[in-house]
């Protein structure tokens, strides 16, 4: 793959740090290659490959800092960039929350890089798109889809001796099939670090089957329903459970803030089967070895048996509160069971199967209430069988309330998240009394 090796990256970083005249200097260098193909109306619309590389420098004098970035790497440019950062630092006001650069850290390797993904070619992308279009045409459907792959590398060095280098790859494939009359729509998506785990034919088959099966959807009364949520339907709701840190909660402006002061950490808020953690070394959803400020990412249980166990602390807030500076999550993993999605459907007497959700937005940050809609495949289940398609519905639901009403969990699978981009493992789940508030005519 194009890009710098660890030794090449280190050589540039050391050259920059040596140029520094500041009290402290932190340098980061990163780049990558990404490629994509997009299709719609059963034809390829756009495709391309891009490459990028950038260097950024933060220089500090006492509590004053300045930063700059460049994308040229000759000696004169590097020297000019260092001098710019230093001059800006001298002009800066003191930052009362300034934290000095970290010393050397130990970064455990994470399994995020797969050569086969870095080697994805335009031919692979075109073949995948072509096969998906052919699969759709065979069933008289119209497809739109997007394959996006990337191989990225990143390195960092500071004047206190911290050095790190890492590489990762990712590939995401999504496909939406629609019936030509516009009455049926189905979706499937796959997300992986290893392209071997992408099965475009399977994704196309699921999307097309759901499109055909979702024609002639029946309207049902909005209200509280038992739902079987596929992982893609729940992930963007439940990932909001980790969108909280200690400072917000301590300051009284979070759903975890408690009346009279303090936080609700340790209080059982959800079903005891709810355990959510992050682990950068997880082989199915690996994450990077460090967080933004250079602290090593680490395995952390955030919610244990329905109760928050930990909150992330910035280095500044941890020092101020006398707490360990626990870095935030870099991936999202929810414990589940052993049942497949099909098992969950089979054991459901009455309920709705939700393929995917859409346009999820916060309604009340105080109760973590969100609204959004079902999309691309919503079905009525009776006696363990999918009986018929139902029209899409809008929900107003809080993941805290929803996970209090947990009925069953299946086997976690890797799922893509648009909002955080974090690798996620989420089980299919059955929830009681999921709150649908209105019907939608959208297909």
């Amino acid at each position: 793959m194009p890009g710098l090796t660890e030794a090449e990256a280190r050589a540039i970083l050391e050259k920059v740090v040596k140029l520094s005249r500041a009290d402290a200097c932190e340098v980061s260098l990163g780049g990558g290659t990404s490629g994509n193909i997009r299709f719609a109306r059963n034809t390829v619309t756009t495709s391309g490959e891009t490459e990028n590389m950038g260097l950024s420098i933060r220089s500090s004098f006492g509590k004053r800092s300045g930063s700059t970035s460049v994308n040229q790497f000759d000696d004169a440019t590097l020297e000019r960039a260092v001098r710019r950062a230093e001059e800006l630092a001298r002009l800066a006001p003191e930052d009362p929350e300034f934290m000095p650069p970290l010393g050397p850290q130990t970064y455990a390797p994470t399994p995020g890089f797969v050569q086969a993904t870095a080697d994805i070619s335009p031919d692979y992308r075109a073949a995948l798109a072509g096969a998906s279009i052919a699969a759709a045409k065979a069933r008289d459907c119209v497809v739109a889809g997007f394959l996006d792959d990337g191989a990225r590398w990143s390195a960092r060095l500071n004047s206190a001796g911290l050095f790190g280098y890492t590489r990762s790859t990712d590939v995401t494939y999504t496909i939406t099939a629609r019936t030509p009359d516009g009455l049926g729509s189905g979706w499937a998506g796959q997300d992986a670090n290893d392209v071997a785990r992408i099965d475009g034919a399977a994704a196309a088959r699921i999307a097309v089957e759901k499109a055909v099966a979702s024609r002639d959807a029946r309207a049902i009364e909005p209200g509280k329903y038992t739902v079987v949520l596929e992982p893609a339907a729940s992930v963007e709701l439940i990932q909001n459970l980790l969108n909280v840190d200690a400072r917000n909660a301590d300051e009284g402006r979070s759903f975890l803030s408690k009346s009279g002061g303090g936080t609700r950490v340790g209080e059982k808020l959800m079903d005891e089967r709810v355990t959510i953690y992050s682990d950068p070394a997880n082989p199915d959803a690996p994450a990077g070895p460090w967080v933004g400020d250079g602290r090593p990412s680490q395995r952390t249980v955030w919610i244990d048996k329905g109760a928050y166990q930990n909150l992330a602390y910035s280095r500044y807030w941890a020092e101020k509160q006398g707490k360990p500076a626990l870095p935030g999550p870099t991936n999202f993993i929810m414990n589940g069971g052993t049942d497949s999605l099909e098992d969950l459907i089979r054991s459901t007497s009455r309920g709705l199967l939700v393929t995917r959700t859409w346009y999820i937005r916060s309604v009340d940050p105080q109760t973590l209430l969100f609204t959004g809609l079902t999309r691309d495949g919503t079905f009525y289940i009776e006696d363990g069988q999918i009986k018929y398609a139902v029209k899409n519905m809008r929900f107003n639901e809080s993941p805290v309330i929803m996970l209090n009403n947990l009925d069953a969990l299946g086997r976690p699978v890797r799922v893509r998240t648009d909002e955080t981009g974090q690798p996620s493992l989420v089980p299919p789940m059955r929830i009681r009394d999921f709150n649908f508030s209105s019907l939608s005519d959208a297909v």
Binding site: S28, A40, G48, G54, P93, W187, R253, V363, G372
Partner: protein, 542 residues
């Protein structure tokens, strides 16, 4: 919706140029150097000639320098001062009836020529899957022309110290007025864009945008409740004069002072803490049907989602089916010529020409001079938003000028122009409108927003909600969201105020496409009344 994991790996890269500095030294970053004008035509011709030689039947090139700057503050400290500069060129071609695009940051004749050849190669490679060859509406070349956002004061020329002082004064005022927390910011954008095409256009444009704002939080420790009140500012296609706090920009009462073409940030923030406290203590709304009176600071977002997006022709045709979605305003409905979208009060116009608007440019990103046209006339769907390759689909011979790319490195495609509700001819003020409402809610400011992928079912919240009883405001209510079907909602529009109340709202970052691109767009309206809309109570307990 970028791949954030990449940013996690490179925290410093992500935070690049977050500079807490007292004085901005443009020379340090070279941030305001314009593209050398003498070279632009030669560069563009190098790209166009290379494309033609490689077999392109059409080519256009955009040589662009994009600048941004922001200052942000939290309570009594400056959190960051940042800037970015991006310089490069994007070349788009048609070869074998298929689009191809390539971009480069090597802005030399050779660099652009190489990118042009690459674009032709990509077009040829994609042609094997092409089932709908591109049909481009003819466009006469304009020769050498230019356009500039009519600004009074370039925000990039304003010393950073002045911006720092303003935000510190804003935050100080908020804290003195009883806020527990306050964040504030000023963001500036300048796109310096040179467009040339094989049609014979050489178009130089200098486009400016500004977006100031704040968020105030008040906390009731005893109950553990908190409430936010965001600023009533809007992103604008203006220079720093937007912050001039001129009286002409103020729209006093009912409710609170609202703002038009000039924004008084200090005045707005001084009002905010008391309003947040009033909202915290307000009664929870009783769910049911209400007549809604919607201020332009709120209504712009409803227009954006329920009128702007469904009239995008690429959505109608299915190009966005896998991501942003399609549209209920299908071609068969448009073809009837009688499809009812809203009440006769509802005329919705598109434009890329309104002064102070985010969408205003002289020419779009495929060299089409901008204009105004009607999408919904007296409640009837009459037209869509189109680019050159879409005009033929609706039997038209010219583009509407809706092509835009977020940067030189992204390919241009159909993006939303300004889409606005036309004010009524008959004189009517918001106070007169409220006087006619027996049971209603007056909503100011945008809040939570969500709509389905075909733009039928939506739910919106706001910043301030005043109950209307017997024609008068009767104090604030809280936990308000309204949910409606687009056609029912616009058919329930019974009154629109006149032009005196007309103001713009807008978004800096409307998203569409894969990979996603953002664009800035304004939506104008006067206050409007909608009868019998379903209001939800959003209060919950966890």
């Amino acid at each position: 919706m970028e791949r954030r994991d990449f940013l996690q790996y490179s925290g410093l890269v992500a935070g690049a140029l977050a500079l807490p500095v007292r004085e901005w030294r443009p020379d340090l970053l070279g941030a305001i150097t314009p593209i050398p004008s003498a070279d632009k035509k030669d560069l563009a011709d190098a790209a166009l000639n290379a494309a033609r030689t490689a077999g392109a039947t059409y080519a256009d090139v955009r040589i662009a320098r994009s600048l941004s700057q922001f200052v942000s503050a939290r309570e009594r400290k400056i959190q960051g001062i940042g800037g970015s500069e991006s310089y490069g060129a994007g070349i788009r071609v048609i070869a074998s009836g298929t689009w191809g695009f390539a971009a480069t940051n090597v802005v030399t004749p050779d660099g652009l020529a190489a990118a042009a050849r690459n674009a032709v190669a990509i077009a040829r490679a994609n042609a094997k899957f092409q089932t709908e060859p591109v049909q481009l509406a003819p466009q006469k070349g304009y020769g050498t022309v230019s356009w500039k956002t009519p600004i009074e004061k370039n925000g990039f020329d304003v010393p950073v110290a002045e911006k720092v002082d303003l935000l510190m004064a804003v935050n100080d005022a908020a804290l003195k007025a009883g806020a527990n927390f306050v964040n504030s910011r000023i963001a500036l954008v300048n796109e310096q864009k040179y467009f040339a095409s094989t049609d014979g256009s050489y178009i130089d444009q200098d486009i400016h945008r500004i977006f100031p704002g704040f968020n105030v939080t008040v906390i009731d420790k005893a109950s553990g409740k908190f409430e936010n009140r965001g600023s009533l500012s809007s992103p604008m296609g203006m220079g720093y004069e937007y912050l001039a706090a001129r009286p002409a920009g103020k729209f006093a009462g009912p409710g609170t002072t609202k703002y038009g073409s000039y924004y008084d940030m200090l005045e707005d923030v001084q009002l905010a803490p008391a309003q947040a406290k009033e909202k915290l203590a307000a009664k929870s709304v009783l769910a049911g049907k209400y007549d809604l009176v919607l201020d332009p600071s709120h209504l712009w977002l409803t227009i954006h989602e329920s009128a702007g997006h469904p009239t995008e022709l690429d959505r109608v045709l299915g190009y966005e089916a896998n991501y942003a979605g399609t549209s209920f305003l299908t071609l068969d409905k448009w073809k009837t010529g009688t499809f009812n979208y809203g009440s006769p009060e509802v005329t919705i116009v598109a434009d890329k020409t309104q002064p102070h608007s985010l969408g205003a440019v002289g020419y779009d990103d495929e060299g089409v001079k901008t204009k105004e046209w009607t999408l919904i006339r007296n409640g009837i769907l009459v037209d869509y938003q189109k680019t050159r390759d879409q005009a033929h689909i609706v039997g038209q011979t010219a583009s509407d000028g809706c092509s835009y790319a977020q940067s030189w490195s992204d390919v241009q495609f159909q993006r939303m122009p300004n889409v606005s509700l036309r004010p009524a001819e008959k004189p009517l003020t918001p106070t007169q409108m409220i006087a006619g409402v027996d049971k209603g809610i007056y909503i100011i400011g945008d809040g939570s927003f969500s709509i389905d992928q075909q733009r039928y079912n939506f739910q919106f919240s706001g910043k301030l909600f005043y109950e209307i009883k017997g024609g008068k405001l009767a104090g604030m209510v809280r936990d308000v969201a309204y949910q409606a079907n687009t056609r029912e909602f616009w058919n329930s529009c019974v009154q629109v105020c006149d032009r005196r109340d007309y103001r713009l709202g807008g978004a800096f970052n409307d998203g569409k496409g894969e990979p996603p691109q953002s664009s800035a767009v304004s939506h104008g309206s006067s206050t409007a009344r909608f009868n019998g809309v379903n209001v939800l109570n959003t209060a919950r307990k966890i």
